[in-house]
Amino acid sequence: MRVRAVFVMAWTVAVLAPLALAWQQLDGVAERSIFDTLASFEDRFQTSGALEFTFRVAILSTLLTLAIGVPLAWNLGRHRWPQHALLRSLFTTPFVMPTILVAMGFLALLDPWPWFRQDGALLALLLAHAWFNLALVIRFCEPLLATLDPSLEEAARLLPKGRTRWGRMRHLWAPLFAPSIAAAGAMTFLFSFTSFALVRWLTPGQRNLEIVMANQAEWAGIAIPELGRAPSEIIMAAAMVQLLTILASLGLISWLQARRNLMHLPRVEDAREPPTTVAGLHVIVMAILVLSPLVALLISSFQIRGEWDTAGWSAAFEGARTGIGVPRAMWSSLVYAGLTLCIAVPCGYILADVIHGLEKDRPRLAMAVDVMAMLPLAVSAVIIGLGVLIGLIRTEPELARSWWIPAYGHILLTTPFVVRILLPAMREIDPDLDAAAALLGAGPLRRLLRVRLPLLRGALIVAASFVLAISLGEFGASWVVVKYTDWTTLPIMIDELLGRPGFDPVPRAAAHAAGVVLLGLTMVLFMAVERFRPTGSGGEF
């Protein structure tokens, strides 16, 4: 118990220390208060329209995602599809795709329709967000749909209020799934609110808070007033708005998850019905739509200036233009992903365990730890990066050169997902099982290895797949400025290639090629692992 308390402390320090350092530095340079800065947002080009745009995009994205996602989750979960596991993982894969690749894919996909670049740019962004966050709706709703006791629906059919489909929708399905849908919506809101790559590429010329912060990031905290004052003020103000909004969303999600657990939903092994033609068509169409940006990216990697050409692929693999080839970068990505996996999963497990243990007796403390575990998602990467850099410079500059420093970012960003995935699974474990094992003479370690972990197997697998996929696509090293060139990962390589002026078309095509490799790697890893997840597990992430 003490070990776990120490651990939670360590995590809190790991998250809060950079924040505190960054805040202190920013505060030292800023002169105006956050309120004043926010009030003058509209007066400066750098920030005008940002607040309104951020909220508008987040809200509209959430609505569109739910509108598209709920029917899909319904069809997916209600019927028994051939290759059901594969289908399910196909629809949830978009979520772990690196956003820069999603942006590239959508640009490639929408290229034939120039309308999407001008008047329709916002719609393109919303569609991209919906594509991306579809997975959330499915993850939150589909498992429950697939295993909910069919007697509930049958009973409803025989009673007056449930006689019509509409009646059942209104009185049975909607109330039962409202918490899951709302939680999916809140998470979609969170991710749309902090969307960066998609906004930058799909709606150029529009700024959301994340982009504002990224623009100002260079100069943040620099003690020379002419250079650093305004950027520091802007970042503090934007970060505060972001933090409060996201904390509110996280609190909502946490509350909704807890509320759903109060309802004892009767479950069966498999409640799915045979598929219908209409449902089948729907699923096929959606599968095609989900795959289309990825296919578009694949096609564009073979095109240079409008002609078919594999020069991009050769350049990517040889590494002539980039200093590092795809094979080496892929290896680095995998090493970081593996390292992150080894640390984030145990970290997340311990945090989830602590929260679960506190839930019954000290629910407020449990919620506090829950929020602390999720905090890295709520705080802008800019601030964390700044804090890490400052912290390292003040204490041990040489550390900044260590190859594992970027992993810090990966770990901080993936652990919250592990917590969100493991926690509901832990709640479902019958406490008597652990007690029975103890009475049979098994010590804590044995109970952990022989009882607890095997019962959590499904959730652990899901968590592992998320950690791997997210880490593979993470531009986390962009936080910390020191990039150890030998350990360049695939996303960084792509970023560098895209950053060059494109007079020479080959680096751009090489970026697409490397992107396809990254995509493929992520998909394969993610989907391979997903297949081992049993039908009804998950459901709360």
Partner: protein, 204 residues
């Protein structure tokens, strides 16, 4: 009231072969047999939740074999009770009300099943017997013309079973509702029903 004629149904193998049954108005019939004998299937066919491969279902003089369950006016108490977890007891009963102005009937029905004042209780806080009775009340409040009971008492202890069996019989009789009761327990079958129909494994 109810006539089953020549009902046959197969799933992986034949479950029912040429099954006949008659239930008179106001009569309570028990279907007694071991598991696998097709008793639940018979109930689901009467309710309309399954369709027979062959045969007819005649209810109150009409052939309802292909009629949707929503339109049959037949109620059912499920084995797993299927109480709606997102509603409290009164909410569950309200599901059975066609007309919102009949709110008062909820309290009446709770009285009838001996659960007066239970309206605001949450489902997960109910004991086995209480849940049983809520499920019964919910089906009855919809004023079905016939009630089907799928092993409703099987998970209760012996004393409670007998007590509830008597209660259910009393309520059904007082409302004059015919019923088919499926069970594997001969003692309960005897208590509850007017007539027992035995089903051996598979065929009849």
């Amino acid at each position: 009231m109810l006539s089953l004629k020549g009902i046959s149904k197969s799933f992986d193998g034949p479950v029912l072969v040429d099954f006949d049954l008659e239930v008179a108005a106001g009569e309570i019939v028990a279907l007694l047999g071991p598991s696998g004998s097709g008793k639940t299937t018979i109930l689901r066919i009467v309710a309309g939740l399954e369709s027979p491969d062959e045969g007819e279902v005649i209810f109150a003089g009409k052939d309802i074999t292909s009629l949707a369950p929503e339109a049959r006016g037949i109620g059912m108490v499920f084995q797993r009770l299927a109480l709606f977890p997102h509603l409290d007891v009164a909410g569950n009963l309200r599901f059975g009300l066609a007309d919102p102005s009949d709110e008062h009937r909820i309290e009446e029905m709770l009285d009838l099943v001996g659960l007066a004042g239970f309206g605001s209780r949450r489902i997960e806080t109910l004991s086995g017997g209480e849940a049983q009775r809520v499920a019964l009340a919910r089906s009855l409040i919809a004023q079905p013309r016939m009630l089907l009971l799928d092993e409703p008492l099987s998970s209760l202890d012996a004393d409670l079973k007998e007590h509830l069996a008597n209660e259910v019989r009393r309520i059904l009789k007082s409302l004059d509702i015919p019923a088919i009761h499926v069970t594997h327990d001969p003692v309960i079958a005897d208590r509850l029903a007017d007539r027992i129909v035995r089903l051996d494994t598979a065929k009849e």
